[in-house]
Structures are given as C-alpha cells and as structure tokens.
C-alpha cells in the first residue's frame, strides 16, 4: 500500500494544523493519527507513523509514544469490525458479561482475538459514557446501546452482509 494522503486529506491536515499556535503543529498529532488510522486499514503500522512524523516535522519516537498510549489507536492489525463492548460497573449491573460471553460463543473468539476471516475483533473496553443505555458497544464511529442477544445477532448479520 502506498502511504500517502490524498490532496484533499493533506488540505484537511493543513487546516487542522492551523488551529494551533505557530510552531505547535505537534498539537495536531492525535487528530492526524485518527485520520491516518481511518485511511490506512484501521491500524498504525510503523511506516504509517513515520509518514505522519514527516508530515508534522516530528521525530518518529514522538509519534510512537503517543500511538501506544491511547486505547483508540491500534498499533496492531484488527478485524474490519471491532466489537468494543463496555464491561465497567454500570454496564456490568445491566448484563454486559452475558453479552461478552454470547459474542465469544457466537464468533468463537476470546477477548482480544480476531475471527479467521479477519472480519470481527472482540475487544472488551472500559466505560464509554453510555452507562444509562447499558449494556452497550462501540462499533466504528457509532454506539449500539441497550444491547440484547437479538441485537448482537442483527449487528453481526448486518456487518457480514456489508463486509
């Protein structure tokens, strides 16, 4: 894969850099890593991080440091659909453990694993600010709330159809 943003994305990066004071382009790092992750297959391979470093005139290590700190930035490949099921207290009170067990069984993967077809990763996560709509999961840029086994079936079927 060619690691290169499109002209349009480069213009977007430039716009983001302009939000911060002159010479503080490092502030744009996390927003730009989000874009890079979305653009290059859902995770940040070393050449991708090096590319971002070059773009923002940073040392590569400055990018690695950040990429490894934040839970939304993946430094290893993940499935096309990451089922991020919240398991913290308030969700647990409303049955998140059962939801996680159900997905494990249905997809035959343990937490942290990806299905053989590369489609699904199961990732138990900590509170996502949806405690009143529990149990819930994050899927890409969306939240799926008030989960039931039936809803999980629908989410998985829908993902398989759109692939």
């Amino acid at each position: 894969m060619m690691i290169q943003f499109s002209e349009e994305t480069l213009a977007k990066v430039k716009e983001i850099v302009s939000h911060y004071p002159e010479g503080r382009q490092k502030s744009a790092l996390i927003p730009v890593l989000h874009i890079a992750q979305d653009t290059f297959g859902g995770w940040l391979d070393v050449p991708v991080m090096d590319y971002v470093a070059g773009l923002l005139e940073l040392e590569p290590i400055e990018v690695y440091e950040v990429a490894t700190f934040y839970s939304m930035l993946n430094t290893k490949p993940v499935g096309k659909y990451v089922l991020e099921v919240c398991q913290t207290g308030p969700c647990m009170l409303n049955g998140s453990d059962d939801i996680i067990a159900y997905i494990r069984e249905k997809l035959g993967i343990a937490p942290g694993e990806t299905t053989a077809d590369g489609l699904f990763t199961l990732k138990p996560v900590e509170c996502l600010g949806a405690c009143g709509y529990a149990p819930m999961m994050q899927l890409g840029n969306t939240y799926r709330e008030h989960l039931t086994k039936e809803k999980v079936d629908l989410i998985i079927d829908e993902a398989r159809l759109t692939r």
Binding site: I30, G89, C127, G129, T142
Partner: protein, 434 residues
Amino acid sequence: MGRKLLLEKAHVEGIRYYDTYRREGGYASVEKALKNLSPEQVVEEVKKSGLRGRGGAGFPTGMKWSFIAKPEGVPRHLVCNADESEPGTFKDRYLMEFLPHLLIEGLIVSSYALGSNATYIYIRGEYAWVADILDQAIVEAKNNGWLGKNILGSGFDCDIYVHRGAGAYICGEETALIESLEGKRGNPRIKPPFPAVKGAWDRPTVVNNVESLAAVVPIINMGGEEYAKIGVGKSTGTKLISACGNINKPGVYEIDMTISVEEFIYSDEYCGGIPKGKRLKACIPGGSSVPILPANLLLKTAKGETRMMTYESLGDGGFATGSMMGSGGFIVLDEDQCVVRHTMTLARFYQHESCGQCSPCREGTGWMHRILKNIEYGKGQKSDIDLLWDIQRRIEGNTICPLGDAAAWPVAAAIRHFRDEFEWHVNNPDECLK
C-alpha cells in the same frame, strides 16, 4: 417540578440547529455580555452566582477565572473539558448532543470574560458523532456572526476548535488534558503551577467542564445574584445528574438542589424506583471514584437527617458515613448485586487507566484488581481484605494526580460498609462465580 435552566429546551424539535435555537432566544447572553458588560463584569456575575465547577471538584468557577494570569503580550486560552470518562457519567454528552449551541454560546461569553481568542473543546475520542455535531454548530454560529473577527462590533475575536482525544480517562485530568492537547501522552503535570498560570503551550489557561460553561448562559441572562437564589447554601443553581444502574428510568436529569436523594430515586419525575420492585442496596452518587453508600446511609445521614442532593448533604459525614456530589454520575445497585464484583470492575478500570508515572498508582491499582479478582472468584483469603485496605491507604495522597485517590476511595468505602460481603466470598469459595 424542579426548575430547569439548561435542559428546559432540550426537547424542542430542531433545537440542535441554529435557526431554532436562535428563535427560542439563544445567543442573548452573548449580546448582553459583549454589548453591555466588560470582561471583568462577566467574571463578577459568575462569582456572584456561586457556580461551582461541574467537572467534579466543585471549585468556584468565578474565583478560578479571577486567578488567570495576564502577562503582557501572552495569549490566554479557555479549554472546555469534554473528556467525560468517569464511570456513571454521561451528562456532558447529553448536553452536547441535544443542545450544542448552548455550549457554544457559553463558550463565547466565557472566552470574552477570559480574553481567549482561540478556545478549544477537548472531547473524548469515542464521542466521534458528538464532535461532528459540535463542528456543525460552530460553522452555523460563525456563519451568523457569533464567532470570528470583531464579534457584534465589540472588537473581540474568537474561534472555537474541537479537538478529539483518542481514548484515555486520564486526559480528563486538566493537566493531562493539556499535555494531550499539545500532542503528547496524557501524563499529568505537578500542580502548582495551576493551568490558570501556566497551561497549554505555557500560556495561562482555564479548563472548565462542559456543564460549568453552559451554566454561564443562564447566569448572564438572569444575573449572578438571581442564579444564586436557586438551591441551598453553597449548592447554587441546577445540576445535571446522569442516573444509571438498577433503576427504572436511567437518563440525564436536571435537578435544582432542593430535592432529597429518596425523591430522586423513587419519584416518577426522576429515576422511577428500582426495577421489579427490588430493594435498594447501595449507591455511588457522584461517579465511580466517590465512596459507595449503603441504602440506610444514602437516604439519611448518620445524624438521621434526610440526605439531600446537594454538595453539602452528599458530603455530610465525610468519608466515614458520607460521599460526594462528584461528577453527578449516580449509580444504583439493587439487592441482588454483588458489591465485590462491582468494586472489582472499578479496580480493573483504574488499573487500565493509570498513566503509570507514579509507582503507588501504577502498582497499587494492579495489585488491588488482582486481589479483588481472587476474592470475587473464590480464591481469596481473609488476610486479603486487610491487605486491600493497606494498599488503598498507601496510594491515597502519594501520587501526582488524584487518579490514585480515585482508585483507592471506592475500595476503601466498599470494605468499610460491606466487609461482610468480602468475608462471605472468602468463607464460601464454592459458591462464588467461576
């Protein structure tokens, strides 16, 4: 029916969009402030209102604003803390999702008061669609002349930028937030200096919670003195409470601080009681880091007074028999819930979220989680309960930021009030979950 100042219009059709918001009287506080008040007068109104920071610490907002340093020729910044990650807390999301313009309006007035020409909203990365809603509201506000250069001919310039985080509870701590805004790992800084003196890019910076900044709108509209008349004592105005756990009507409620905890849990206007008629066992009233209270101490203080939903009343009795308002994340446990299990999930949360800079927090959170897991799964010993107590005590007060305390307090309170449940697990290993 309690008085509503923030969510009054939340259900008006189309209120998320500028035209409706404006038609409903939106942006009046910007007109009032920029045309009739000096920045110092705005700060004065906020001081008079008695508004206390809604992020959890409850520090008076007007006082914080008056502390901002003003060195010659150095820009100042306002940063809105929309990182909201404290388990049980989802009120800021609600406000931003349904009333984005209320926040933008509050930010413009607050930026004017503080002299911030570039204001940032640091929002947790997972709230991606909320960030889009805010971006859209900012464009609308700018197109209508409320942002940009020389707003309303006042000579004041202001732009607002949304900055998405990428998943890290610690970035809600204001100095970690600033590090993250600068493009670094979210490692908290040692305070003082407070951000108001040295913050983002070493410039004076005020960090305030979403709800605090939205509250500036009614404060300016009605005047600080009028606002201060709502509520009791030092708990002025209204507070958003996000209620969850075992209740019939989970959701976000605006309360004026004159109702009792019992009314909040059982009345139909709020939580609507406990599902299936079960009994109330315990509650964490202010987000996962504040002490859990058993039902008897939750509804009445140790002195036998009715416990109210105010800063003072929730805190009555200190940590021995009271709790805190905190972030307003209200978590209810019914009689069938296991306090050990719930505490274990919180311990795992804090272990996962520790930034790792201080050894008491980095090691202690992991240790507490492992011991709690052993107890929960029937592999604990009686001495483990005392060991847990000892570990939490050694974390508290010995770290750079309060995440260490936040991890220690729930464990301490669970043992203090529910020691018998820990002992039950130790004594009945065969009946524990496997």
